[in-house]
Structures are given as structure tokens and as C-alpha cells.
Symmetry: C2
Subunit: 653 residues, 2 copies
């Protein structure tokens, strides 16, 4: 771990190092090398500070990164896993978008089964817009078992098992037309929270925008997570109806605020745009009011309320708590919050909430104790148009601190530090949420959205590192055409002052939020634990062929092929069928050596499967086209990898 | 550029640095910082050599990488662009696989038009297996204008324009069932070469493996590249029929060998496998012979031969030179080459060929002068079963050098250096191809396939850097489950000894070959040059709406929407249609600021388009489902990005 010995930010320019003799001037056996480091740095245009940055981020061969950064992939539809401090991309996990390297959605029934769960309007959806990953938690700390991710465009949640880093489940939310405050988990991953963003009709019908206030609604769904099954249990999940504001980010309470969830909002104006009709555009209409509403929701009580069918309606097969029930049962309160906020972030001890309004320069700190008291005392200024009680601002707010322009999102350090991104200012503000004192600001390049501090949204933030997820890179990297990468900047937060360490280009997708977990909290499998393992069930499959089981069986027009893969051949190597036959391939990688992955592809038949050591998969297709089609291993496995092939022979029927 | 001042590989361990006082012992103003660099390195477990490595690979904020590494993405179906020496992933380019971040294949007609060119057997193909990128060349040097990439699984070539780093064309090859020796270009990019790998029937019919020698064939296609159009011209392309060996890698001659192409091969045994039937598996059957055949092809003459229809047959719409014509016209010769070779690599001056046989420990160096003379003198040992003249091995080979186990692929340096990957040994051999002397070996982790040296396959290699594309990573990175990333190792070749600099995890796809080009050779566009630009035609589109043109026009059941996007709204914001209407959206990003990209997505309708500054795109869909569907900007563009939205309202008809 870095940080024990702080590197002091020196103003000393490299020029003072006396003709780069700084290192060379040292006596002793190391003289030659020292001189060269200085000379190399000079040649490469590196300052002395840069040398320290290089040393802080370099992970030499044979060593490992200290943290994993689990990042959304934006509209790539995937999740990206980076190592910290090296910022190397260790894996892109296929979630909502088919991913052929992983054989995800390109022939293997087991992966199609996951993607098919995510169909909407009876359509295949070939992408997603992932924004907010949520690591599973136990008592408010990351436990390294699961990762959840939302799809804003097609309101869904993906469930990734961190034993094999594969997507196991996609759950749709038919009541929503869009989500954003997702995925966030409650402190023991009892629920995965999914707040809507753009309002729609809960029943999925058409409604004119003239009827917006009456017919459109927001909502928040609490998806019940069954940890033993490793799956969301839709039947035990419930949704709470909300007004048609644009709900934004969410967070779950912990410690004293355990049992509560918080969602902020914009467009409490209920603007419906219409620039083509001479109306103000959404961007103006949604920014008219000085205050929007922080949503305060008692999920623990709501779960009990939802158990009684008298309290709920069934809409599109899901359990809905109507807004009047939510109000009546004390599940839902509002508190004014400054102008179009983005982030609502619960402090590590659960005692405060930090809200930053992107059109207001302040961080506003709410006290949970004050909120609880206000609810108990019914200290309300009135209700919103839907009857939701509005807690008095002054009865809930402990204080405000002016941070700068466009504050978006806050992460925490171990000693009262809050780090807030300033989008318009392109900076990170470090301040103290106990004393409401500004500590310092660090410029970033450019347009920072979310931040990710090491375990910075848990009960016990680590400090050490902060990543600034900058939405634009502009001129930071060699140009690769008009679509530029984004820029994750790694910041050292172990010292008294924040120190920018590294610019990491993100040339795949447009990440929003990320979470950073200590790598030693995870226990991934390096191979599947037994030969014949089906990642869909995370168990050995009875159908999985083993060495010696290889055969081809015909049953009418269905041809079952029981195949194994091992360096460097498939068995069988010839598959002879008639045009129109249905072919079902059961294929097992019978290896147990780490990294001995085999691919299985059939030329021109749009089939590619990835078989990690021990894994079995099933491929089903109709041999509708006559010809001779090679199949081969797509993952370079051995010196005779190119020879690992066979033929599918489809003869005219 | 690094390398002017060489960093000497010192054996001095960090331990000799006297309790890490090495830097601290320095006098002068820099003392504090110096001490801290040493201390940080100690804390992080870095040796003194590691500090030098860190300094050599670190690119500080505001500086740029020196080279771009254009890498295949393996069965991800894409191309990856990395910066060197930082090894940061600057962009993944969608080629054969839809890529939603780039809006590639998810609603925009212009991108569907490209992907649809790649349909095979009348099927959509959702992936590819990219192996070998080829930068366009002028006089044997990279010119930075275009990039070509093959798809091994579904024999195709993708054409990428390096002005915008987007795929402009996909060309199928119906005569092949598989390719591998692709893409390689001739020295002025006259042709893009595509050699087959697994043999098939050229006419696409079924043929029993019992008839392998008679009915199966290999082939090589020379795709004519029209540089002005920026497209392959299929009508001016031709294919040469080859025996049913497994053709492998290719290279084009240059200088004295200009006009010739070289392809090596394995499985001249014509083994057909069949382990399930008690036959030897492919891996054994294809490795029985001690020699395979280097294919020597006169493409310049072949192009003239192909112009005369009397010399060719038309097969599946393509022009084929039959093997007997190729022999008769002196287009095709064989030379024995040791055991299942992989790489055939022409030296920078075009005078020699380096062949490495993966089952033979030598590099075999062929002399072009000797080959030319042998052809002139008909110095043949006989013919292969198909009548192809076989040049005597001794009449073509200048010498051999034993390199080690599993030599695969060779790249070149500026002063006679050859770098050859040793797959089985997991090492890189550096040797001199003039003197046939071994210089040194460097171990790599693990299973190196191809190598990429800076401009290392051109007429003028740069030296400086070499990347070892290692197929396995095993234990080099934090585990992310049973599918491990690969490991690109960056090697400094500027000094007398190769120096391993950096381990770069490749967590997206399974790259094979890469080419490294000096970044200043490229002139990418940072925005599209004018508002209304269509990347499909690389020109301004007359249909592109501009500011002030926004409108909605109904024509029967077709609704044309002329829309603009600008921070932070779409215009129009309401699209009201009836169920069953065909909606055609013409949308232009009217911005000209660098990085001001907007996305356009329609929730649940599987539409996501990326609009770079100035770009126009067309989205066509049937509004088949009733409801209210938000559309919104998927690329975080401004503080009011979340407000950049509108509604598609589909009412029952």
C-alpha cells in the first residue's frame, strides 16, 4: 500500500536539479542507473513530480494491483474492471450487449437464456446504458460476492457473480420507462434499489403529454436479492409509485439511517418540453424552480406493507404500492433540495446525507437525526401536488458549504473527508463533512461526472485512491478520430494534498460511476471447480460430456453431439448432418489448467462459444444451409491451436 | 523519443542502495522529493530497474503517446488502438461486431449498411475473428490513411478510414470457408491480400471428406483497393485457386521482390482428422511431414492474367484463376519449408524471407535473389500433387539459425535485427538476419504469438519498441474469474539489450497481430469537417437537417423527423406517431466543438446512435408498440445532459 510515507508535493522544478545531475550526483554503486533515470526523464519531458507519479502507478511484472475498479460501461452496455493503481483494463464483462470474446450471446444456450430475460416489448435488445454498478454489501461494506448494474435505456438490472465474473441474470422492470437511481444496494444487499428517471405510464399505455401530471409517474423498485440463489427474486420485489418528477441518484441509509433509502430529483416543475411547438426545451423547463425534492423512503417498512395484498396493486405482473398508500403508511417524505441535484450520498457512519445540486454551488448536508425528528414531529411545510409531506428544509439541514460550479457527486475518505466532483469547474473539491470546511480543490481534465474513492461509499472508506471519471478528454490523448476516449484520472488521496497521478484513456464505452474494492476481498475462481461445470447453474451438469463420453446421437431430425475440447483437438472432429436437421452440441472443456480456455466457432453459422477450463456449454442451431463448414478453436491455446479444428458437413436432404 | 540515451541494464539490486538512502543521500534542493521517490518505490516493492521502467512508460498529463498500436481484437470482432509506450487503450473500433458506444449497428442506417455487407449464407453475423490488421502503405511504408482487418471465421475483410477511425466497408469472400493470411497489403496498397486457411469447396457446395483431395481447395484473393474511393473494388479483384493445404500467414514482397506475395502453409499432408472414427486427430495428421510448402505468387502478373476472361472462371460471382492456369502462367511456385510454419516475413529491404516453423526450432532465411534465379532456371525438384512446381530447398535458402522452441513470427529493427517469438519457450529471440547470429533472448509471460515492432514490417523499421502479444497471462494480474486477460508486454529495443518495460492486461478480446505506427503519420479528424457530414459517404449529406430546418413531415404512414442535437436539447422534443407508422429520423449534431458528442437513444426500441460533432445519421424503425418512450442523449455532454431528452409517443392506430 502506498501512502504510509507521503510524497510531498514539491514546487521544485526539474530545472533546479543541476543539469540532471541530481541522481547522478549520488555516490555508491547505483550511480549509473541513477544518472540514467534522470536522463530518461529529461528526454521524455518528465518533471521530478512525474517521476514520483510514475513510481506510484507502476505495477511491475509479477506484482498485482491493489484495488479493482468496477466501472459501468455506459452505452456499451457492459461492465469494465480495472486494476488500481495501474489503471489497466483487466476485463470487460458482457452484461446487456452480446460479447463474442466471452461467447456471450453468440450460440451458447446458457448465455442466450440470460440475454433473453432482458427482452422488452417482445424485442431483442442488443445494448444497454449502464450507469451505476453496485457491489454487494454485508453490514454496509463490500463483501466481494456480487455486482449489480442498471440499464437506463431499457429499465433493467444485471446480476454478475464475482466467482466467475459472468452475468447470471437480467431482470426487466416493465413499470418503468427509464431508470437512473440504480443499481444501489441496501447494507446487507437485502434489496437492489432501482429508481426511475424519465416518467412514463406505469401500465405501459400511451398517454398524451397534456395529461402528464395525471397519467405519468415515477417509481422506485426494490428488487429482493436472494443471496443463496444468487438471483433477484421478482416475486418478492415491490415498487413504490412516485410523482412524475425525474428521480435521479439514490443511496441507502446505514447505521442510524438503516432501513431508509434516499433519491433525489429534478424536474419537480413537471416540464414536458416541446421546443418544436414553441415551448421551452426540457433543459429550461426543468430548471425553473430553486428547489427540488429529496425523496426519503422507508424501505424496511415498505417491505412489510407490500406483504399485505390490500395495500398493493398488481400492474404488469408486479407488486405496486400506490402513492396514497405510501403516504398513508409513512413510507414516503420529501425534503426541499437545491436546484436539480445529482448526487445524494450517505456518510460512512450513516448520520448525514450530502446533496449536491448541479445548478447550485453548494454541498448541502442533511442530518438524519434531524430528519427523523422532523418526521416524528410532523414538521412539514405542506405537501406536494400528490400529497407527499414536505419536511421543512431548515428542520433537516445541518449546513451548507460552497464548493464551486456544478457539484455532482460525493465520495468519502476515512477521516471525515468528502470529495465532490465539480462538473462545470472541472475540479474535485476536498472538504470536511463534519466541520463543513473546504480543504482544497484539484483541477481535472475535463468535465468530471462521478468519483470513485477506494471503498468510498461504504461504512469504512479506505482513502488512498480516488478516480475522477471525466466525461471529456478533448486533447489529453493522441487523436483517434471525432469520437474521443474519456479520461479516468487517478488521484492519490493518501497525503495531505490530493495528487494527480495518472490519465487513463477509456477507449471503450462511456463510463458513469465506478466502485473501487480492495482486491483481496474477492475470491474469484481461476478455473471452474470441476469438469462439466455449467455457469448458468453454477453446478456440474449431468448432460456435460466427459472424456470418453464423446459421441453423436441422432433422434429423428435432432442430432446430439457430445463433444470434448482439450489441447489440441475437439472430439468428434466430423459432424455430418442433413440440411434441416437440428443440431445440439454439448461441449465440455475438460482441462483444469488455469488459462487453458478454448473457443468453439462454426464458420458462417454465427456461433462462437468460450469454454473456460471445466466449463460446459450447449449450442443449438438448425443446419439450414448446405456446405462444408470448418469449426475451430478461437482462443489461442497451444502451439497446435490452428490445427484444433473439424468440419460440420451439411448435405442436401 | 526515448533511446538516444540508453538505460543500461544494471544487475544492481535495490538492496545495495544503502537502506534506500540512495536518492536521499543527494544534496541540493531536491532532497525531499528524491528521498520520497526511493521510499515510495521501497514501499511498493519496486526495484531500481522498475523505477527506470516506470519512467520509460509513464506519459504525464498533457503529453502524448509516441506510437499507436493497431491491434486485432480476436474473436471480439473488433480492432483495438493502444498508445505506446503507455499501453493505454485509446479506442475499440467496431468492425464485425455491433458496438453501441459508437452507435454501430444499433439503429443508424449508415452503420447497418456496413454490417449488412457482411452477411453470409443470408444470415446476420454478429461477430468476427480478427487476426491481422494491415495499415495502408505507400512505397512499403505506413501512410496512416487506412486500416484493413480480416475475419477468420467468416472470411471477410473490413476497411477502416483513419480520418474518423470508423469501418466503412465489409467485403465477404464467398469462395473461402475460412481465412488467415489476411489482411496483408502490397507495398502501395494496390491489393489487400486474403489467404484461406481451412480448405473448403470454392463453389460452396457440400463435399464429403473422402473427396478432400479432389473437391476441397485453398485460395488466395487479391482485393483491389481503390484509394480514391476508400473502398475495395470487388469487380477488379481476383482469386487464385490453391491446393487444399492449410494456408497460413502471408506477406508481400517489396523492393527487389515487389510484385510477389508469399504464403506459408501447414497440412500439406491433407489430413482430414476424424478422431471420433479412430483416425488421428488433425493435430497429429497435419504434423506428419517434415516439410510444408511456402507459396510464392506473382500477383503483379496474376492481375494481368485475370484481366483476360479466357484465363478465369466465374465462381459465386467472383473471378477465379484456376490452379492449372496459375501454374501454366508462372504465377505459383512452392518451396519446401520446415514443419508447420506460422510466419513468413519479408525483410525491410525485400531481399530475404524469414520463415519460422512452429515445430522446428530454426528460423529459415530464404534469398529472393536465389528464388528468382531458381524460377528462371526451372530449378525444381518436381511438382506437388496438383502440378505446382517445387523449387529446390537448397536453391532458395541462404541459411538457418536455431532460435528455440516454437518460433512463430518475426519483426524487424532498423539495423538488421530480427525479433522472433518463441511460443513454446515463452521468449523473444533477437538475432541478426544478415549474419545469422543470435544476439539474445528475453523471457515473456506467457505463450507469445505475434510480435509488433515499431513499423517493424515496413521498409524502414524504427526500432525503439517491441510488443510481445502473449496469449496467456495466467498469474500476471489480479484474477477476474476463469477467463483471464491476455498480456501485451512492452519491450524497449532501443538499447543493446532488450528490456522488458510493462505488462499490459488485455481484458477485451484475444488479439493476434498488431502494427505499430508513429502517431505523427496519422491525420485524424477531431470533429467532422462540416455540419451535416455523413461518415458513410465522407461528405455533407443533402438530407442532413441544420439548425432552423427542424420539422416533422408525414407522408402516408411514413413520418420523417428532421432533428438537430446541441447542448442540451434535441429539436423537436416530441414525436407523436400512430402504431404501425414507419419513422425515419434524420438527426444532425450541429456542434463543432471537439468532443461534443451526443448520443440518441430511444428507450425499449433498441436504438442507440452516436453523433460526433457535425455528424448526421438516419434511424428508421416501425413504431410497432404503443406507449410513451423517452428518447435521450446517451453521451454525457453538459451539466444539463440528463435534461437532454424528449418523448416518442405511439398511440393506438
Amino acid at each position: 500500500m502506498i501512502g504510509k510515507h507521503r510524497w510531498k508535493l514539491g514546487a521544485t522544478a526539474f530545472a533546479v536539479l543541476a543539469g540532471f545531475g541530481y541522481f547522478a550526483a549520488c555516490g555508491g554503486g547505483g550511480q549509473g542507473q541513477g544518472a540514467d533515470v534522470g536522463q530518461i526523464a529529461q528526454d521524455r519531458g518528465l518533471s521530478q513530480e512525474d517521476i514520483a507519479r510514475a513510481v506510484k502507478t507502476y505495477v511491475p511484472t509479477g506484482q498485482m494491483d491493489e484495488y479493482l475498479l468496477m466501472s459501468s460501461g455506459g452505452h456499451s452496455g457492459q461492465v469494465m474492471v480495472f486494476g488500481v493503481p495501474s489503471m489497466r483494463l483487466l476485463k470487460v464483462i458482457g452484461v446487456f450487449t452480446p460479447e463474442p470474446w466471452q461467447g456471450y450471446g453468440l450460440g451458447a444456450e446458457e448465455t442466450h437464456a440470460v440475454l433473453d430475460q432482458g427482452r422488452m416489448l417482445e424485442k431483442d435488445i442488443g445494448w444497454g446504458d449502464t450507469h451505476h454498478p453496485a457491489l454487494s454489501e454485508t453490514e454496509g461494506d463490500y463483501d466481494g460476492e456480487y455486482l449489480f448494474i442498471n440499464d437506463k435505456a431499457n429499465p433493467r438490472i444485471g446480476v454478475i457473480d464475482l466467482r466467475d465474473f459472468e452475468t447470471k441474470q437480467i431482470v426487466t422492470d416493465p413499470l418503468l420507462t427509464s431508470n437512473h437511481g440504480a443499481a444501489f444496494v441496501t447494507p446487507n444487499t437485502e434489496y437492489v434499489v432501482e429508481g426511475s428517471q424519465y416518467a412514463g405510464t406505469l401500465d405501459g399505455t400511451h398517454a398524451s403529454l397534456d395529461d402528464y401530471e395525471e397519467r405519468y409517474r415515477g417509481a422506485v423498485t426494490f428488487f429482493k436479492f436472494d443471496r443463496d440463489a444468487g438471483r433477484i427474486d421478482v416475486d418478492r420485489s415491490f415498487t413504490i409509485e412516485l410523482p412524475p418528477y425525474a428521480q435521479d441518484l439514490s443511496d441507502a441509509g446505514k447505521g442510524p439511517s438503516h432501513g431508509w433509502a434516499f433519491i433525489n430529483s429534478f424536474n419537480t416543475e413537471m416540464a414536458t418540453g416541446g421546443i418544436g411547438k414553441g415551448n421551452p426545451p426540457f433543459e429550461a423547463g426543468t430548471a425553473a424552480n430553486d428547489m427540488d425534492y429529496l425523496h426519503v423512503i422507508n424501505w424496511e417498512k415498505a417491505a412489510k406493507v407490500a406483504e399485505n395484498p390490500e395495500n398493493t396493486r398488481t400492474v404488469q405482473g408486479r407488486t405496486l404500492i400506490p402513492i396514497d398508500v405510501a403516504i398513508e403508511q409513512g413510507l414516503l417524505y420529501f425534503i426541499p433540495e437545491p436546484k436539480s441535484p445529482h448526487g445524494v450520498d450517505v456518510t460512512p457512519d450513516g448520520s448525514k446525507l450530502v446533496i449536491s445540486g448541479k445548478l447550485d454551488p453548494h454541498a448541502t448536508v442533511y442530518s438524519w437525526e434531524m430528519i427523523e425528528e422532523a418526521i416524528a414531529n410532523e414538521d412539514f411545510s405542506g405537501t406536494d401536488p400528490y400529497g407527499v409531506p414536505i419536511i421543512n428544509f431548515d428542520s433537516a439541514v445541518e449546513g451548507q458549504l460552497e464548493l464551486g460550479l456544478g457539484p455532482l457527486h460525493t465520495q468519502f475518505g476515512p477521516n471525515g473527508e468528502a470529495y465532490t466532483s465539480l462538473f462545470i469547474e472541472s475540479a474535485v473539491a476536498k472538504w470536511n463533512y463534519e466541520t463543513l470546511e473546504m480543504i482544497e480543490k484539484l483541477p481535472v481534465h475535463y468535465n468530471v461526472g462521478h468519483l470513485a474513492a477506494a471503498e468510498g461509499d461504504t461504512r469504512s472508506p479506505d482513502g488512498n485512491y480516488l478516480v475522477s471519471l471525466n466525461k471529456w478528454a478533448i486533447d489529453r490523448f493522441q487523436s483517434v478520430g471525432p469520437l474521443h476516449p474519456q479520461n479516468f484520472q487517478l488521484i492519490d488521496t493518501s497525503g495531505e494534498s490530493m495528487q494527480l497521478l495518472y490519465d487513463a484513456a477509456i477507449g471503450i464505452g462511456e463510463p458513469h460511476y465506478a466502485q473501487m474494492i480492495k482486491a483481496d476481498k474477492l475470491s474469484p475462481w481461476n478455473t471452474y471447480p470441476e469438469v462439466g461445470f455449467d455457469p448458468g447453474t453454477m453446478a456440474v451438469s449431468e448432460e456435460a460430456p466427459r472424456a470418453g463420453d464423446e459421441r453423436i446421437e441422432r433422434d429423428g431430425n435432432t442430432v446430439h453431439v457430445y463433444m470434448t475440447a482439450v489441447r489440441s483437438h475437439f472430439n468428434p472432429e466430423h459432424i455430418e448432418v442433413n440440411q434441416g436437421d437440428e443440431v445440439v452440441l454439448h461441449v465440455t472443456n475438460v482441462e483444469q489448467a488455469r488459462d487453458a480456455t478454448h473457443g468453439f466457432a462454426i464458420n458462417k453459422y454465427n456461433v462462437n462459444v468460450s469454454l473456460e477450463p471445466g466449463e460446459t456449454q450447449t449450442v443449438r442451431f438448425t443446419a439450414d444451409r448446405v456446405g462444408t463448414f470448418p469449426f475451430y478453436c478461437t482462443e489461442f491455446c497451444s502451439a497446435l491451436h490452428l490445427e484444433m479444428m473439424g468440419y460440420l458437413l451439411v448435405q442436401p436432404s
